[in-house]
Amino acid sequence: MIVTEHLRKCYGDFVAVDDLNLQIEPGEVVGLLGPNGAGKSTTMKMLSGFLTPTSGTASIFGKDVVHDSLAARRMLGYLPEGAPAWGEMTPEQFLHFIADIRGLQGSQRKKALDEVVEQLHLDRVWHQPIDTLSKGFKRRVGLAQAILHKPKALLLDEPTDGLDPNQKHEVRELIQQIAADRIILISTHILEEVEALCTRAVIIARGKILADDTPEGLEQRSRYHLAVTLRLESPERYREKLAALPMVAEVEVHANGLTAFPSGKETPFPHIKALVDEENWPVQSLQLERGRLDEVFRTITMGERN
C-alpha cells in the first residue's frame, strides 16, 4: 500500500506538489496524469526517496520514505524519467550491479536475471554497451532494472515517453503482464495509456489532485458520454432533423459527420437509429460514444486555471 498524507514540496517560492493525499492498494494500476510541470515527477521523486518532502508524509507498505528510507526503497522498483543508466556498461554488467545492490544471491539471483532477460528480450543486446542501444532497448533495460527484484510497488515515470508506437505497445503489454498483485504507479501525459493500462486515474495540475476516478468514471464526465456520432456525406443537410429528435440537446457538425449530444442521462441512440433506418440515410457508421478522456483532461486541467 502506498499512502501519502498532505504531501508537499516547494522549490523556493514555487510549490510543485501541494497537499497530496493518495492511497493505493495492491492490484491497482494508477495513472498519474497531468500536463507538463504539474508535479508528477516531483511526486514520484518523493515516493522513491530521492527528494525529501517539504512537509507531509509518504509511506510504502508502512515504511516511511524519509525516516525508514532504505526499507521503503527495498520494496520499490523505480524507473526514473528517461530511464537513466550508465552508458558504458552492458545490460549484463548493469543488471548484475543492480542485483548486487538489491542483495540478490545464488539461485534466486540467477532466476531473477534469467526472467527479466526473457521478459524484456534482452538476450540480443546482453553484451552491448547501453550507450549504443536504441531508445526502445534502453527503456527495456531501465524497466528490467526496476522489476529485477520483483518489487511489491513499482513507480514508472513516463515509461513510454519518446518511444515509437510499437515500442509503446510492447512496454504496455509488459506492464500488464507484471501488474498482478502489485501496485503500479505510472506518471504520464499520454491519455491512451490510461485507457489501455490503468484501473484508476489521478489527474493533477499545479501540484493538486483535481480528479481521482476510474478511466470509465472520467469518461462519464465527458460531454461526449452517451453522445452519438454519425459519419456521412454532406452532414449539414441532416442537422435539423437530428436536432428535432427527443433526448437530443445539441448537434455538432464536423467535416464528415455529426455528433448528437444527449439532453439527459439517457442516450438518444435508439431514436437516431430508428430515424436513420426510416429515412434511409447513407450513413457510413453510427457510433455510441463512451466519452473522450482528452476532452475531460482539458476541461479539468484548464478549468482550474480560469
Binding site: S48, W86, M89, I98, D100
Partner: protein
C-alpha cells in the same frame, strides 16, 4: 557494506570500460618519469634515493587528480544516474565512500605502476627502502586528500570542466599554504604560531615530512581528516543540491 562494495566495483569497471583509465595511467607515468629525470636531476644528483621522484607528486596530482575526481558526481548528475543510484537501497554515505574508494584505488594503481623507478634505484645503488615505502604511503594518502576535495566539488555541478577547475583551485590553495613564498608573506605580520598553523594546513608540509621517511601519526591523521571532511562536505552538498 555489500552495497558499498557493489558501487565501488561498478565504478572501477566504468574506469576501464573506456580509454580514460589507460590514458590517465600512461600520462601519469610519463609525466612522473619526465619530472624525475629532467627537472629532478635523478642521475645528476648521484644519490640513491627517490627524492626527485616524490618531490613533484604534489604538483603532478594538482592537475591529474582533479581529472579523476571531476566526473565522480558531475557525470552522475548530468546523465540522470544520480537519481537512479540514490533511489536504490543504498545510503548516501555508502554511495559516496564506494565511489571515493574506487577513485582512490585507481589512483593507487597508477602510483603502484611507477615501481620500475624503485627497481631502477635499487639496481643503481643501495637506497633506504623504508624511506621509499613511507614516501609511497604519503603519496597515496595525499592522493586521497586531493580526491576527497575533488569529489565534493564535483557534486556541486553537472559540468565536469567546472568541477575540474574548482578542484584545481581548491587543491592549489591547500598546497601553497606550505610554500615558503606564501609563508613569508604571513611571516611579516603574523606571530610565528599562526604562521605554523597556516603551514600545517598544507598538503606539502605533511607530505614532505612523510616522504623523508618519518611516518608520524599526526601527518597520517591530517590526511585522513582531510579525506573525512571532504567526504562529509560531499554528502552535505549532494543532500542540499539533489533537486538541481
Amino acid at each position: 557494506m555489500q552495497a558499498m562494495k557493489a558501487v565501488m566495483r561498478r565504478e572501477l569497471l566504468s574506469y576501464f570500460a573506456t580509454p580514460v583509465a589507460y590514458v590517465f595511467i600512461v600520462i601519469f607515468l610519463m609525466l612522473s618519469a619526465t619530472f624525475t629525470f629532467y627537472l629532478g636531476g635523478f642521475y645528476e644528483r648521484g644519490q640513491a634515493d627517490l627524492q626527485p621522484f616524490f618531490l613533484f607528486h604534489p604538483w603532478l596530482y594538482l592537475f591529474l587528480i582533479p581529472a579523476i575526481s571531476m566526473r565522480l558526481w558531475a557525470e552522475e548528475r548530468k546523465s540522470g544516474t544520480l537519481e537512479l543510484l540514490l533511489t536504490l537501497p543504498i545510503s548516501l554515505k555508502d554511495a559516496i565512500i564506494g565511489k571515493f574508494l574506487a577513485a582512490w584505488l585507481f589512483a593507487g594503481l597508477a602510483l603502484a605502476l611507477t615501481f620500475p623507478i624503485w627497481i631502477t634505484v635499487n639496481y643503481l645503488g643501495d637506497p633506504d627502502n623504508g624511506v621509499i615505502l613511507a614516501a609511497y604511503l604519503g603519496s597515496f594518502l595525499m592522493a586521497g586528500a586531493y580526491l576527497a576535495i575533488g569529489s565534493s566539488l564535483s557534486a556541486l555541478t553537472r559540468n565536469q570542466v567546472i568541477a575540474f577547475i574548482l578542484s584545481v583551485v581548491a587543491c592549489f590553495i591547500m598546497m601553497v599554504t606550505g610554500l615558503d613564498m606564501v609563508l613569508d608573506f604571513f611571516r611579516g605580520w603574523l606571530p610565528q604560531g599562526l604562521v605554523d598553523a597556516v603551514a600545517s594546513l598544507s598538503f606539502l608540509t605533511h607530505f614532505q615530512s612523510i616522504s623523508r621517511g618519518v611516518v608520524e601519526l599526526r601527518d597520517v591523521l591530517y590526511f585522513l581528516l582531510v579525506i573525512g571532511l571532504g567526504l562529509y562536505a560531499n554528502q552535505l552538498i549532494i543532500e542540499a543540491k539533489k533537486a538541481d
